[in-house]
Amino acid sequence: MAIEGVDLIKAAAFLGAGLSMGLGAIGPGVGEGMAAAKACEAIGKNPKEAGLLTRTMLVGQAVSESTGIYSLVIALLLLFVV
């Protein structure tokens, strides 16, 4: 197998992109799930405030989503820019 410099750099970039997005997806997935779990429990306790609770849940999830989006951006940079 011919291993040249450019080929090797591309290979490393592809592997890095996969690892970046894969590992970066774990935290937001678990964290947003926990936020939503507590929101469901709170709505169960007090269904009248469902609108307020859903809004709070979505804002909290959007913040914890940010690290997942950072991973996506880095993965796309590795794929198309490097």
Partner: protein, 322 residues
């Protein structure tokens, strides 16, 4: 090293990986069930026989994931190979990774509803039938990700690679196994959490049993989605035609697609499991709020799914674009 001895090396090494990793989940899940059965019996020793029976049934279902892994290990050890090539060796490695990782989540997950059912039997002896039925349904859904892994493992082991060029197909074979196996971990665990809180809920509020089982199935179906993404990427890697090339970058893109989807599927599966667990728990306590709770459960799960979808997008870009 010639291809025959490399294939035999991969088969032996793969058998170890398949059953070594595959034994983790079932052992933890069954231990959890037994740990729940003992306090349940001490609470009401008269129910000891019933609880003991349910514990064994629950443990038997949790065991099935590791039995799949044992089957794959035995096939790898004792099959006489008609053809041996470098690709067969890679396929064996992929099959063992798929089955080994894939059995972890299902084994642990199936232990949760069985443990909750042991407690529930002591609390509501009259609901024994409904509780056991619900446990069986919930545990069966938990096993589906390990069945996906078994399917990919069998396709990999019995594929015919004699006519194919080795590069970059070798990376696709390992990638397919990693993708299906790792993404099954999250779905199995998450599905188990949902079934656990459903069994607890039925024991607490027997009248809501029907609504609870429906909500459990809805929640479990959504936790399975990331395992299905993993299976999808696995099938694409296996059955797409990969043009022959000696470039190491092309091979690494295929391997990386599998790793990306596999690891990326773990988090959303577990997170969605937490969400549906909380929702089902409160549907049991407040059955009038079922509409509001289900709606926010679905919205919350959709957001938690997003990183799994990003992973699938990156995996598809790695396979089809770069």
């Amino acid at each position: 090293m010639d291809s025959a001895s490399l294939t035999s090396l991969a088969a032996n090494f793969g058998a170890g990986i398949a059953i070594g990793l595959g034994a983790i989940g079932a052992a933890i899940g069954e231990g959890h069930t037994a740990a729940q059965a003992s306090p349940a019996i001490s609470r009401n020793p008269q129910m000891a026989g019933e609880v003991f029976k349910t514990m064994l049934v629950g443990q038997a279902i949790a065991e099935s994931a590791s039995i799949f892994a044992l089957v794959v290990a035995l096939v790898l050890l004792f099959t006489n190979l008609p053809v041996s090539s470098y690709l067969t060796a890679c396929a064996f490695l992929g099959a063992s990774l798929s089955m080994g990782f894939g059995a972890i989540g299902s084994g642990v997950g199936s232990g949760f509803p069985a443990g909750a059912t042991c407690h529930g039997l002591v609390r509501q002896p009259a609901m024994a039938n409904k509780l056991t039925t619900n446990m069986l349904i919930g545990s069966a859904v938990c096993q589906t990700p390990s069945i996906f892994s078994l399917v990919i493992a069998f396709i990999l082991m019995f594929g015919d690679y004699s006519a194919a060029a080795p590069a970059p197909l070798w990376a696709a074979l390992i990638g397919a196994g990693v993708s299906t196996g790792l993404s099954a971990i999250g779905a199995g665990l998450g599905g188990g959490l949902v079934a656990q809180s459903c069994c607890e809920g039925i024991a607490r509020q027997p009248r809501a049993a029907g609504a609870l089982t429906n909500s459990m199935l809805l929640g479990q179906a959504i936790t399975q989605t990331t395992a299905i993404y993993g299976l999808l990427i696995g099938f694409i890697l296996l059955f797409k035609h990969h043009p022959e090339t000696n470039s190491i970058a092309a091979a690494m893109a295929l391997l990386s697609a599998g790793i990306c989807m596999g690891i990326g599927g773990i988090g959303p599966g577990i997170g969605e499991g937490f969400t549906a667990q909380g929702a089902v728990k409160w549907i049991a306590r407040n059955s009038e709020g079922i509409g509001e709770i289900t709606r926010s459960m679905l919205v919350g799960m959709a957001v938690a799914e997003s990183t799994g979808i990003y992973s699938m997008v990156i995996a598809l870009v790695l396979i089809f674009v770069v």
